[in-house]
């Protein structure tokens, strides 16, 4: 029972496809662990109590607020953030839907919304009829009034929307190449 007394212990988990080990106090929130070395600053502290969705990550594929996940809960888990989703077809589809509808303004909350939507699309692939409006019910946006998000979900991400699900949608507005 000796290890149990240690305040800090190394935790090993998967972050955006890579195995990482960190030695931190057991109650450290994943939010701080991801941000403080500047690696995953898309994970943002909006409230630190799980009530805004700005710090969402995907844990084993499902969106959850990183402020409520403590380091001791991480061993063996798979964590993804938007920094690691560059080639993910669901993320590309979500990204395009958000761009098409200008569903963001300041953008601070947007990675959190994107991950909730990716989480919903993945669940849908497993055969669950997920309502993407419910999937983002825990994300707060103060700028847009959710109009663009509503249009993105209804027009581009509904199960019967015309865009293909492989993320390869080509649009009149899509820009070429890697921006900036």
């Amino acid at each position: 029972m000796n290890d149990l007394y240690r305040a800090s212990e190394p935790v090993t988990f998967e972050l955006n496809g890579e195995t990482v080990t960190r030695s931190v106090p057991a109650a450290t929130p994943l939010l701080d662990l991801l941000r403080e070395d500047g690696q995953c600053t898309s994970v943002r502290p909006g409230c630190r109590i799980g009530r805004c969705g700005a710090c969402n990550v995907l844990m084993d594929g499902q969106a959850m607020p990183a402020c409520l996940i403590m380091a001791w809960q991480l061993p063996g888990r798979r964590i993804e953030t938007v920094e690691g989703l560059g080639g993910d077809p669901d993320f590309l589809r979500v990204r395009q839907a958000l761009v098409e509808e200008s569903a963001l303004q300041c953008g601070y909350c947007t990675p959190g919304f994107a991950l909730s939507l990716v989480s919903g699309l993945r669940e849908r692939r497993q055969g669950n009829p997920v309502d993407l409006g419910e999937a983002i019910a825990g994300n707060l946006c103060r700028c847009t009034g959710y109009g663009g998000l509503k249009r993105a979900v209804e027009k581009h991400l509904s199960p019967c929307s015309s865009t293909s699900s492989d993320g390869g949608t080509v649009s009149k507005k899509q820009i070429s190449g890697e921006p900036e």
Binding site: R35, E36, D37, G38, C40, T41, S42, V43, R44, P45, G46, C47, R48, I49, R51, C52, A54, T81, V82, E83, G86, R95, L98, V99, E100, E101, S102, L104, Q105, C106, G107, Y108, C109, T110, P111, A114, G133, I136, A137, G138, N139, L140, C141, R142, C143, T144, G145, Y146, G147, G148, L149, K150, R151, K173, Q174, I175, P179, E180
Partner: protein
């Protein structure tokens, strides 16, 4: 514009062809690649700062002992009022707020000391080790009696009072067939931007400080910070970075003074990022207003007399309170309507209830809530349709404004009303029975652009060619998500015939052009005016360079996608121009004063006016009194649309913010203590609280209008609250005059009406 030009009506749809491709900026934001000021953890040598805040809302500071804190692990500096190198005060209008309190604290979030340490945990631990002795003083908590309480500042608790007069109200009231008098209250709304206040201060080689922060006016902040830090203006640089929302709440200095002092003291970059608890406690709020309005009309519904007596609670310090009071009073004169005589007065008072300052709407929407409610009350007394009462009293475009100032509308007000009247939301909702009571209501609002009242209000910009051959457009405005970069790009592309990727917009640098503050819906107007001045100059300069390089006559050259064209063929790309031309010759800048009425020595009010009519449909839960807004239809008259998704997003976003203020948002103060400290208690609308919205644009500005573009950042919040309460009245018969609508109060009234019937 003549009064018979109804204008063209268009329903905005984000799908509407806007002729451009989405900004790369959107991709960067979605992918998390846009660094916000509080994300800058990769700054070398970065320390973490934290601020000690007062535990009391009002107290004498007897002792602040930092000796133990200084010895704590990781601590690099502990600073108090004694360490402020220059002026220990800030404030945009009145410099009355201390960076660190000296001998007295005036609200619960007042700053007393700050710590810089290697980690935030160490900084917090050191804060806890600072010993402070307070001697509590009696509290000023009720704004309406504040003037009779213990003074919080020299000169007493009345910060300012102002009255606007027109005609003889007493006589006019005597002639009224109907007079209604009601009291209204609006909440202490919180901005609740998703990125709380923060940023970093970096000491630079020239013994100055470079700030990378979320703020709304780099130039103005740099001036104040130079005074606080006792530095020459040239030693302070403020980079207003793209920030996660502001809405007025980052207009005043936030973390900058403490971060700057700590950076100078330690010689290291220091980040301060308020967490949500601290932001709720210390941050700016919207002024709560208590107002009594008395309004009368003749038997035909013509408005004759209007009296307003308001008290605005500015909290412990002035911030932009005096300007908010002015704008409140301006809107309280009912700018859309002809009223023969009025007396509109307001008092702005100090209390120990937090601090209030700029917030989208800026006092105007609080006034419009009451004014529009009064019109509905008169219509009810006269048994007249509220739309008809408005139609009778609306100004025409040829008339002066409510303060007798010349105004410039973009469409006739009656036409805006006519469009609202034609809204599909007036037809009864299908299947609305059982527990839901449904109703539709509307309200109108006017809103001016610019700082107004003849205040100094100029702005400039610069255009050049970057080394990489992109058209670089610089303005001093901050980007907090209002799509200003996109709007600038669109305008430039339209004139140059180029693509978005040819243009690079740089915003918010205090070393760049001074555009004035990013507030008062002024940016779009200035951007349009300044671009119109400087683009032709710049194009001419570029053509001259191109003529030198190619040998073609300058007059035969034209701008096009990616460069300069001769007879439809590109002869030089911008990159080639940048490489081979003289870049310093291809620079243009311009600035202009904000448009005010011609021939006025002392302008009053606002010249450029916008309008909105908002139609709301609600469902009220008969069981609980809970209100759900199902639809909002806005008819906006705000000039030409430059960037449709931006215009749409501003109206929709402001409207939902207004919906929050109407239904759930308030930061109540009890004994000077703000009662809500995070987003589980202070509840802003979620995706499912947002109604279906439609935004129509009515524009009657002629092609050659000198001011065809207006700023729409605040328009959407103007009429939401009274539209919703009118809809609630249509659904239930109950008129609510205190915001946010308390479901229990509404339910009790519904219940009482049922018992009677």
């Amino acid at each position: 514009m003549s009064s018979d030009t109804p204008g063209r009506i268009v329903t905005l749809d984000a799908d509407a062809p806007d002729g451009g491709c989405p900004s790369p900026e959107l991709y960067r934001r979605i992918e998390g690649r846009l660094g916000y000021p509080t994300d800058l953890f990769d700054t070398p040598g970065l320390l973490q700062g934290a601020i000690l805040r007062s535990e009391h809302a009002h107290a004498r500071l007897l002792r602040v002992d930092t000796s133990r804190a200084r010895t704590m692990p990781g601590v690099r500096a502990v600073v108090t009022a004694d360490d402020v190198p220059g002026l220990n005060r800030f404030g945009i209008v009145v410099r009355d707020q201390p960076v660190f309190c000296e001998d007295r604290v005036r609200y619960e979030g007042d700053a007393i000391a700050a710590v810089a340490a290697d980690t935030l945990a160490q900084a917090r631990a050191a804060l806890a080790a600072i010993e402070v002795d307070y001697e509590p003083l009696s509290l000023v908590t009720d704004a309406t009696t504040a003037e009779q309480q213990v003074p919080l500042h020299e000169g007493g608790n009345l910060l300012t009072q102002e009255t606007f007069h027109r005609g003889d109200p007493e006589q006019a009231f005597a002639a009224c067939a109907v007079v209604v008098e009601h009291d209204y209250r609006t909440p202490r709304q919180m901005h609740a931007f998703m990125e709380t206040e923060g940023g970093i201060a970096i000491p630079d080689d020239a013994v100055g400080v470079h700030f990378r922060v979320g703020c709304q006016s780099g130039h103005r902040d740099a001036e104040q910070l130079a005074d606080i830090l006792a530095l020459a203006p040239g030693q302070v640089t403020v980079e207003a970075m793209a920030t996660g929302g502001a809405f007025g709440g980052k207009d005043e200095l936030t973390v900058q003074p403490a971060a700057g002092i700590l950076a100078l003291k330690t010689g290291c970059p220091v980040m301060i990022h308020l967490d949500r608890f601290e932001s709720c406690r210390a941050g700016m709020k919207r002024h709560p207003v208590t107002v009594r309005m008395t309004t009368g009309c003749d038997a035909d519904g013509r408005l004759l007399a209007h009296r307003v007596e308001a008290v605005l609670d500015t909290g412990a310090y002035a911030s932009l309170g005096p300007a908010v009071l002015e704008n409140f009073l301006d809107h309280a004169t009912a700018p859309l309507y002809r009223i023969g005589a009025y007396s509109v007065s307001g008092r702005l008072v100090y209390t120990n209830n937090g601090v209030c300052g700029a917030f989208r709407g800026f006092g105007g929407n609080q006034a419009t809530f009451a004014v529009e409610s009064q019109l509905d009350a008169l219509a009810r007394e006269l048994n007249l349709c509220p739309r008809e009462l408005r139609r009778i009293n609306l100004r025409s475009v040829d008339e002066p404004g409510s303060r007798h100032q010349p105004v410039r509308w973009t469409a006739p007000p009656v036409e805006v009303l006519r469009q609202a009247q034609a809204s599909p939301l007036w037809s009864p909702e299908k299947g609305s029975r059982g527990r839901w009571l449904t109703g539709t209501g509307m309200a109108m609002g006017a809103q001016g652009n610019g700082l107004g009242d003849g205040l100094p209000d100029a702005g400039g910009g610069r255009i050049s060619l970057s080394r990489e051959g992109r058209v670089r457009v610089e303005f001093g405005f901050s980007d907090y998500g209002q799509s200003i970069g996109e709007a600038i790009t669109h305008s430039v592309c339209e004139v140059l015939g180029c693509q978005g990727s040819d243009v690079e917009v740089m915003l918010g640098h205090s070393r760049g052009p001074d555009s004035g503050p990013t507030s008062a819906s002024r940016s779009s107007v200035l951007v349009h005016g300044v671009l119109n001045r400087m683009l032709p100059q710049w194009m001419e300069a570029v053509r001259r360079q191109a003529a030198e390089l190619t040998g073609y006559p300058g007059d035969d050259l034209a701008h096009g996608p990616g460069g300069v064209f001769h007879q439809g063929r590109q002869v030089l790309s911008y990159r080639e121009l940048a490489e081979h031309g003289r870049r310093e010759a291809m620079v243009a800048d311009a600035s202009q004063d904000f448009p005010v009425a011609p021939d006025q020595d002392h302008p009053v009010g606002r010249y450029l006016q916008l309008q909105i009519a908002t139609v709301a449909r609600v469902r009220v839960d008969r069981l609980t009194g809970r209100v759900r807004v199902t639809d909002l239809h806005h008819i906006t008259a705000a000039g030409r649309v430059i960037y449709p998704p931006g215009y749409l997003g501003q109206i929709e976003g402001a409207a939902v913010m207004g919906l929050g203020m109407t239904l759930t948002e308030d930061m109540p103060a009890e004994d000077g203590r703000l009662r809500r400290d995070n987003l589980d208690q202070y509840l802003i609308p979620t995706f499912h609280d947002a109604p279906a919205q439609r935004v129509d644009v009515l524009d009657g500005t002629p092609e050659n209008d000198p001011f065809p573009v207006r700023g729409v950042g605040e328009l959407g919040i103007e009429a939401v609250a009274p539209a919703i309460t009118a809809a609630i009245e249509a659904a239930t018969g109950v008129r609510i005059r205190t915001l946010p609508v308390e479901p229990g109060v509404l339910l009790t009234a519904i219940h009482a009406r049922e018992v009677v019937s």
